[in-house]
Symmetry: C2
Subunit: 251 residues, 2 copies
DNA sequence: GCGACAGCTTGACGACGGTCAATGATTTAG
DNA sequence: CTAAATCATTGACCGTCGTCAAGCTGTCGC
C-alpha cells in the first residue's frame, strides 16, 4: 500500500558512490529522533527501520518501515522531521549532511535523485493517508499485509511480519486488539494462514486485495463483522468506469 | 495543523524569477489530474487550490489546500501524484517542467529550494496523517480550524472557511454530518462563533488548541458526546514531561 | 521440567461516528 | 416574490472499534 509502482525507487546503491560510513544498531535503538539536527542520511544495508512521529499526548503514528536498499532521513531540513528506530539489528551507510551538501553543488543528477526520493517518500505517506482516511480496520490490515508481501524478499506468498501487532496498530491507526481481531478474521475466512503469529501465508490474494481496496465485490465484505451492506460512501462509487485514478470531485 | 513552523516555507516569489506564464481557472476547474504527465509546476497568485486523491471505490481524500504564494504540483516525477482543483477563481504562474529541468542543471540553489518545498509538502501530509490517525472527530475539526486560522490573512480570530462541510469531511476522513455536528458542538460550547455557516470566529483559542492536540486538560474533553473520560491510549501519555516531540517508543 | 514474562487472543460493553431521512437556510433563476 | 437547487443541520438508529479485563501462547532462564 505504501510503496507504489508510480513512485520512483530509492537511490540504487550503484548511483550512490559517495563517502559513507557503515553504522550498526540493535533492535529498538534509534538512528535519530524527530527534532534532532540532521547529521546524515542513511541507506539501509540490512535490517529494518521504523519511521514514526509521536503526538503530544503520546500517541505514536508510524509512517512506514524501511528495508534493505531504502533511504532513511532524507527530509531536506535543519532537523529531522520524524524519528527512526531499528526494529531488528540493522546496518546502514551514513552520508553526512555536509558531504551531501557539498556533492549537491556539483552534481545536478544527485539533486534529481534526492528529489525523486523525496517524492517517493511523499507518495508513501500519501498512500498511508488514503488507507487510514477511508478504510475500515480489516481493510487497513489487508492493505498492510499486501504491502509487506510485495516488499518481502521471501517466497511470494509467505513472509514474516516485520511488525508486532502493536506496531501495526500504530501504523494503521488501530489498537492492538483490533489488529488482532482483523488478523484472526482473515485467518478464519481462509484468506491468510498464520504460524507463530508472525509468519503469514496469503491464501487468497485476490480477496485480500479486494479488502485492501474495498472493491466490495460481493464475497467477504470489508467489515470485521461482515454483516453490513454499507460501504464507504463519502463519495459514492457511481463512476467506477475509469480504470485509473481519475475522478473529478462532486460539486 | 498541516503547516508547521518546522517546515520550510514555499519558495518566495522573489527567488522564483524564471520564465512563467500566468494561467486562470474558475472554481471547480482542475489544474491537473493524478496520472497526467507533469507539464508544469504552479505558484498560486490568488485563489485557492485543493490537492486530493481518489481511491478506487470513489472515496476522495483531500491532502490539503494551497493559497497564495504556495506551490502546487511539485512532485518530481513523470506524472502528477495528486489531482489539483481550484475551489475558487484562481490564478497561478506556471513553470513548465522543461524549463524547470533546464534550470536545475545550472542552479544548485534551485534544486535545494525544490527539495525544501518537497520536504514541506511531506511535512504537511505527515501532519494530516497524525491528525487523522489518532484524533476523534471534534479534534480533527478543531485542528482544521486552527490551521485555517493560522493561514488566513484575515483578522486574527475571524476567517472565512475555504472549504465546504463536505470538503472538510474529505480532508479529515469524516462525513458531512459528523463535520457539521462537530462544528455545532464547538459553537454550542462557545469555542467558536459561526455566521452564515462559513465565517468562523475563534472565541476560545486555547480550548480549541487543546482539542486539536487532545491535551485533555480537564475542561471540555474532545469527545462529541463529552461524557467519556477515555482518551487516546494507544500509547498512554505517561511521559509527557518532554516539551518537544521527543519520545522513544515503548518496547 | 518449571516459572516468569511478553506478546497475542478473545470476550463484554459502550461510545463514536456512519447511514438514512427529514427539515432548515441560502442562493440563483425566473 | 416564488420555485428550485444546493448546502447545512438535526434526529434516530446501529455497526465498528476502543476500552477494560480476562485467558492463552511462546520464549527465556534456570
Amino acid at each position: 500500500m505504501f510503496a507504489t509502482s508510480v513512485a520512483s525507487p530509492a537511490l540504487p546503491e550503484a548511483l550512490w558512490p559517495v563517502p559513507a560510513s557503515t553504522l550498526r544498531w540493535d533492535s529498538q535503538e534509534h538512528l535519530f529522533h524527530e527534532g534532532d539536527p540532521v547529521s546524515a542520511i542513511f541507506t539501509i544495508e540490512s535490517g529494518a527501520v521504523v519511521i514514526y512521529r509521536t503526538a503530544r499526548d503520546g500517541c505514536r503514528q508510524i509512517h512506514g518501515i524501511r528495508f534493505q536498499g531504502e533511504l532513511v532521513g532524507i527530509g531536506y531540513n535543519v532537523t529531522y522531521g520524524v524519528s527512526a528506530v531499528a526494529v531488528r539489528p540493522t546496518s546502514a551507510r551514513a552520508v553526512s549532511r555536509a558531504t551531501l551538501d557539498r556533492l549537491l553543488d556539483n552534481d545536478p543528477t544527485l539533486a534529481r535523485q534526492m528529489m525523486r526520493a523525496l517524492t517517493s517518500e511523499l507518495r508513501r505517506t500519501s498512500n498511508l493517508l488514503m488507507v487510514i482516511g477511508s478504510r475500515t480496520a480489516i481493510g487497513r490490515v489487508a492493505a498492510c499485509l499486501i504491502d509487506f508481501s510485495n516488499r518481502a524478499a521471501d517466497s511470494d506468498d509467505t513472509f514474516v511480519l516485520p511488525l508486532s501487532r502493536g506496531e501495526m496498530g500504530d501504523l494503521l491507526g488501530l489498537t492492538i486488539e483490533t489488529v488482532s481481531r482483523a488478523m484472526t478474521r482473515l485467518k478464519v475466512l481462509g484468506i491468510i494462514a498464520l504460524r507463530r503469529t508472525d509468519t503469514v501465508t496469503i491464501r487468497k490474494r485476490a480477496t485480500l486485495l479486494a479488502l485492501a481496496e474495498e472493491d466490495g465485490d460481493g464475497a467477504a465484505r470489508g467489515r470485521l463483522c461482515a454483516c453490513s451492506e454499507a460501504r464507504c460512501t463519502r463519495y459514492p462509487p457511481n463512476e467506477m468506469t475509469t480504470t485509473e485514478n481519475r475522478r473529478p470531485p462532486v460539486h
